[in-house]
């Protein structure tokens, strides 16, 4: 897929909670195709200690209005600066980068996300619905304050929730959710993105149940386009690179 470097204008910066925000970015018309699971490299201006671009999954795309959405968690100076951007300001993106989630064999799929790892799962849900699939979401958070756009996800499929403190949905980690104890037999794919420990547990569960599992990885990156070879990930085929061979991997390919 051809890659681009474009300036986007911020339409809105919507605060979800203390740590999360969603940037709505207006781009060129028409936007190039962006597949679920792909990411963008954002240049963070006016942040002295942010030298490299920052990779973010594409949260959602509105092609009609040429709007791209990013769900971002504040973790350091760069994301803090991004969280303070105002509508009208400009953000430079290199995009669309990386591979994407693949189409399942059957209709029913399970999408498991944790924390800000739900970021690539909105566009995934939208795409799966457009392909006439029936996704079910299972999301885990530390507490109810971290829930993100559940109403929007619900538009694409049923949403089950687990929180560490029980303030929303079931109490406990997402991989212990009761839904997984009694899962329908016709699930043809599990997609997951979130903390590595969660994704490993999801992958193990999927493998034990004979269901293919695709995971979206996060790692330190420099170029984002396969030039520097910094984002190495060990796989059964040898060293792969998250930015070009990923970020989406079949869980069975990963040595992790």
């Amino acid at each position: 897929m051809k890659k681009f470097i474009h300036d986007f204008q911020i339409i809105s910066n919507r605060r979800i909670n203390e740590d999360y925000f969603v940037l709505s970015l207006s781009g060129i018309q028409p936007l190039p195709e962006i597949r679920p699971g792909q990411f963008v490299q954002v240049r963070v201006d006016n942040s002295q200690n942010t030298f490299l671009r920052r990779p973010f999954s594409v949260y959602d795309v509105n092609y009609k209005q040429s709007i791209l959405y990013l769900l971002i968690q504040i973790v350091g100076e760069g994301t803090k600066v991004l969280s303070e951007l105002k509508s009208g300001e400009v953000l430079n993106l290199v995009y669309p980068l990386g591979n994407s989630f693949s189409l399942p064999d059957g209709k029913k799929v399970l999408i498991i996300g944790g924390g800000v790892g739900v970021a690539p799962l909105m566009l995934l849900g939208r795409w799966l619905r457009e392909q006439k699939m029936e996704p079910v979401f299972l999301f885990g958070y530390r507490n109810s304050g971290l829930l993100v756009d559940i109403d929007l996800f619900t538009g694409f499929g049923k949403v089950h929730i687990a929180t560490d403190d029980g303030s929303a949905g079931e109490k406990g980690v997402v991989t212990q959710h009761s839904f997984l104890h009694n899962v329908p037999g016709d699930i043809s794919m599990v997609y997951t993105c979130g903390p590595e420990v969660m994704m490993k547990a999801v992958a193990l569960w999927a493998e034990n149940n004979g269901i293919p599992c695709e995971v979206s990885l996060e790692t330190y990156m420099a170029c984002g386009i396969g030039a520097c070879l910094c984002c190495a990930q060990e796989t059964v085929h040898g060293i792969s690179h998250v930015c070009t061979d990923g970020p989406v991997f079949n869980s069975k390919e990963l040595v992790w």
């Binding site: 470097i5 330190y220 420099a222 910094c230 060990e234 040898g238 060293i239």
Partner: protein, 305 residues
């Protein structure tokens, strides 16, 4: 109309702006962003005798005004390069220069010998300065007799333009420049990355899997400028300046310090179009300063004692 063309040994570059090995892949990675034919040359990824998997992760971390890397010369080996990559990149309308590395002199010579036969590869850059591999690499670049030995051995089998990439991790880089000049190098390029490290205080662990790595980016520019200036004043062969160039002004500073050409590395990660911007910026500078030939910038630093 200003002249931007420069010569590195027998090799004529249409302009002095090239890309640093390891930061530009094989050029193909940047094709969507710029016209590669605009570049003076592309220094492609470090190539070794056989396939190398590179180092474990994490291989990179951002640091103040720069980054550390410890990729470890991951590449598929010279034979794969010749049969699979060379056919794809030889139609570029710019020079392709291969960065050559190895663990032993025998390996270096074998790679150089094979590349000597490739019509569209007019030069090699001998990498004796990679800080991220246990054997070879920087061992040759930080021990003068070894630097002389490997350069001499390659000079015997390689009859096109031979550039030697120098390590900054030495007490006197100009001694190494003089040594490889004496051993037959047509040019020197400098600097490779500075050996550095990053620590996670919370975990009390090193950030990189290899503990140490190579520092690049604007953080090293003042060191690189000083070294280019020292080497320019020590050798007669052309110097290619490398180290934290982010824009045309940086590139011009390197030329004033004595660089005939420059390599742009880490900046490509932040702006994949930076190389073309630097070419245009150098041209604008020359016009503004009423300088008709870019070569007039080389070593034109005015020092008043």
């Amino acid at each position: 109309m200003v002249n931007l063309g420069v010569n590195i040994g027998n090799l004529h570059l249409k302009n002095p702006v090239t890309t640093a090995s390891g930061c530009f892949g094989y050029g193909t990675e940047y094709e969507d962003f710029i016209d590669l034919g605009k570049l003076g040359a592309i220094f492609v990824k470090g190539t070794t005798g056989s396939k190398r998997e590179g180092n474990p992760s994490p291989r990179t971390v951002e640091t103040s005004s720069g980054m550390l890397n410890s990729v470890g010369l991951q590449n598929k080996g010279v034979d794969y390069f010749i049969s699979n990559i060379y056919p794809e990149i030889q139609q570029y309308n710019t020079h392709i220069i291969v960065n050559v590395s190895g663990s032993t002199i025998k390996e270096y010579v074998m790679v150089a010998d094979k590349l000597n036969d490739l019509e569209k590869i007019p030069a090699i850059e001998l990498n004796i300065s990679c800080p991220n591999v246990k054997e070879g690499g920087m061992v040759f670049g930080t021990h003068r007799p070894s630097a002389i030995e490997v350069t001499t051995a390659i000079r015997k089998v390689y009859n096109k333009t031979l550039i030697v990439k120098l390590s900054p991790n030495v007490t006197s880089i100009s001694e190494f420049a003089k040594a490889v000049e004496g051993a037959g190098a047509d040019a020197v390029s400098l600097i490779n990355t500075l050996l550095g490290m990053a620590i996670d205080a919370e975990k009390q662990k090193p950030v990189l899997a290899t503990v140490t790595g190579g520092l690049s980016g604007p953080a090293i520019k003042p060191v690189a400028l000083r070294m280019v200036w020292e080497v320019y004043n020590s050798v007669k062969i052309p110097v290619i300046g490398i180290g934290g160039i982010m824009n045309a002004t940086d590139a011009i500073e390197f030329m004033l310090a004595g660089a005939t050409a420059v390599q742009i590395g880490t900046a490509n990660f932040i702006d994949p179009r930076v190389t073309v911007k630097v070419i245009n910026g150098i041209e604008d500078y020359l016009v503004k300063k009423d300088i008709t030939d870019v070569n007039n910038l080389v070593g034109a630093l005015k020092i008043v004692y």
